[in-house]
């Protein structure tokens, strides 16, 4: 259920039009120019759609042999190996030949991609929203735009720089100071048990991802928070509420749906992030990380890390296997996107509210 008032319409046409849906155009209403513009726009809309379909189709075509070779084992197997690329001996499985010893089990990478991005999102979301509220409620208006420029700069730093910094500075720092403390949680949570490592691994990668997506979520959230009607906030202040209470009672409910969308943007970024993760992941190929501190790998990082050797596979199967990873990543990204939209729609509760009331 949502108490979010509907967006203000333009109100150009009177009468009870369905809110949020475009005014239906009848052909007879259109001039020749309108019709021309309509075709032009249709074309402009069709190009990206066609590109997406083309990319997806090519990826799928490339991946089919690998999926056929590995079967369901592609999703459940924990060993990902191109086999012996120097021996010409082939191994045929499900009618598909591949180098001897080739095993394409991607579970480890699927796990790594999902877990690292979810950890990043869970840390980044409260951090970003908290930072925005602190910024808009605590920092003087004059300084706000200066501070938010830094957010935008942060969002623009190339990911390889994040990764490099993570491996040189942040990882060792965390491993020396933060992880030993977190490691004590091992008494309660098995996933925190064991060696805390040297700063290359799942948690470091997740925290680097956090740094990368906080600006994305924060920038969107800030715009949303600035759009909250001042009258509503003053109503809370006039009732003797603190700024914190005002944020909880008025601001956050107003922007909740938008924050879901911002979180999705951030999540999508974390799912696909490649370079930074590759650098700090420790790049564990076969097997799941022993605990939250240990090396792991993601689908995106693996594609980059292994493409070079894959190209030396004369059967072409190694490239097919990486393409299959790409397809899974594509599907997961699109699926989370759709799921997110569904959640947003669900949160909206289908309650179409009258335009312009009480705002």
């Amino acid at each position: 259920m949502s108490f979010f008032p509907a967006a203000q319409g333009t109100g150009r046409r009177a009468g009870p039009l369905p809110i949020g849906r475009p005014v239906p155009l009848r052909d007879a209403d259109l001039t020749r120019r309108d019709r021309l513009a309509r075709w032009g726009l249709l074309l402009a809309a069709a190009i990206p759609t066609a590109m997406l379909l083309l990319i997806a189709a090519l990826m799928v075509a490339q991946s089919v042999p690998a999926f056929r070779y590995a079967g369901w084992g592609f999703f459940t197997g924990r060993v990902f190996s191109f086999g012996n690329l120097y021996v010409t001996k082939l191994q045929v499985q499900n009618g598909v030949p591949a180098p001897h010893g080739a095993t394409y089990g991607a579970f480890t990478f699927i796990f790594g991609t999902l877990v690292s991005s979810v950890i990043a999102l869970l840390v980044a979301l409260p951090l970003a929203v908290g930072a925005v509220l602190a910024l808009t409620e605590r920092v003087p208006t004059r300084l706000q735009s200066t501070v938010s420029i830094f957010f935008e700069l942060l969002a623009g730093i190339p990911s390889v720089v994040y990764g490099f910094w993570g491996i040189l500075v942040l990882g060792p720092l965390l491993a020396a100071h933060l992880y030993p403390v977190l490691g004590r949680l091992g008494a309660l949570v098995p996933f925190f048990r064991g060696s805390v490592g040297y700063g290359e691994g799942l948690l470091t990668a997740s925290l680097i991802l956090t740094l990368m997506i906080v600006p994305i979520i924060a920038t969107t959230t800030r715009e949303l928070v600035r759009g909250v009607p001042i009258l509503a906030k003053e109503g809370a202040l006039a009732l003797g509420m603190t700024r914190y209470e005002t944020a909880r009672v008025v601001t956050l409910p107003y922007v909740r749906r938008g924050i879901w969308a911002a979180a999705l943007l951030g999540w999508a970024r974390a799912l696909g992030e490649t370079m930074a993760v590759l650098l700090v992941s420790g790049n564990l190929l076969n097997g799941l990380p022993a605990n939250i501190f240990s090396p792991f790998s993601t689908m995106a990082a693996t594609i980059v890390a292994m493409l070079d050797s894959a190209l030396t596979d004369a059967t072409g199967m190694a490239v097919h296997a990486l393409a299959a990873l790409g397809v899974v990543l594509l599907v997961i990204t699109v699926a989370t996107n759709l799921l997110g939209r569904l959640i947003i729609r669900r949160v909206a509760g289908g309650a179409v509210l009258p335009v312009g009331r009480g705002i």
Partner: protein, 263 residues
């Protein structure tokens, strides 16, 4: 926000809120220029005057909502029950709980209808669920909204009509049991029925709450108010009992305003 120069207003036993020498400036513009006025305890005072004369600014100075506006400077003295509103160490939250406010347009919280009122009740220190529920019902009945909303207390207030939303805001403001109620053109966006309802409520609050009430509607002022405060360009022209003001205005400008002539 700063405060200088504090001429002491005369302590009048019947006055709940005393304003003296109140000036409000933003940048170099003086919005209010040395206003002095008293709002009698348990009485309804209508604040009238042409648009832009500073009525809203005066109201917002009383509960220090102007503190929110960067660059706004308030000078002079306001006493609530003898205690300085802008005094050093004054607890602003406590002040705002004593002074309720209804805005020009309804501004319900994006929470359920029930929660809109319950939040006020909780601010006032009610926590047990049955107590809060009872208080919510009592307040909604008092503003005449109970019959319309009792079966959808959990749903969004934005689906209510504008008038119903304003009544809900009224219930919310009353939930903290304020000593003073500030109403800024509370009926300017409402239909005659809701307007009558609000006016009735104002009448029922008389004796219990000090009401300061901005309106552009002179008939409404005449109907509801005990006293009238007439502002012009940031200055007080006249403050008088409602009968005197409308029948024997002391100032020529008041007369002109009442007769709808340019002032």
């Amino acid at each position: 926000m700063s405060l200088t120069g504090t001429p002491r207003p005369a302590a009048d036993a019947a006055v709940a809120v005393a304003v003296s020498g109140l000036s409000v400036r933003i940048a170099s513009r003086e919005i209010l220029r040395g206003i002095s006025a008293g709002f009698a305890r348990g009485r309804v005072t209508a604040v009238i005057g042409p648009t832009g004369c500073g009525k809203t600014t005066l109201l917002r100075s009383l509960n220090r909502l102007n503190d929110q506006r960067p660059g706004m400077r308030v000078e002079g003295e306001i006493l609530l029950e003898g205690q300085s509103v802008y005094g050093r160490g004054r607890d602003v939250r406590d002040l705002r709980r004593r002074i309720g406010m209804l805005f020009q347009r309804p501004n319900p919280f994006p929470q359920s209808i029930r929660e809109n009122v319950a939040l006020g009740a909780r601010v006032h220190g009610l926590w047990r669920r049955e107590e809060v529920d009872r208080r919510v019902e009592e307040l909604l009945r008092r503003v005449g909204l109970w019959d319309a909303v009792h079966d959808r207390l959990g749903s969004s207030p934005f689906a209510l009509s504008g008038g119903q939303q304003q009544l809900l805001c009224m219930a919310r403001a009353l939930a903290v049991d304020p000593q003073v109620l500030l109403l800024d053109e509370p009926t300017s966006a409402l239909d005659p029925h809701s307007t009558a309802r609000i006016e009735e409520l104002i009448g029922s609050l008389r004796e219990r709450i000090t009401v300061v009430f901005v309106t552009h509607n002179l008939q409404q002022a005449a109907r509801c108010a005990d006293e009238v405060l007439f502002l012009l360009a940031g200055e007080v022209v006249e403050q008088a009992p409602v009968g005197d003001f409308f029948q024997r205005p002391a100032d020529l400008r008041s007369r002109a305003y009442i007769e709808g002539k340019p002032v």
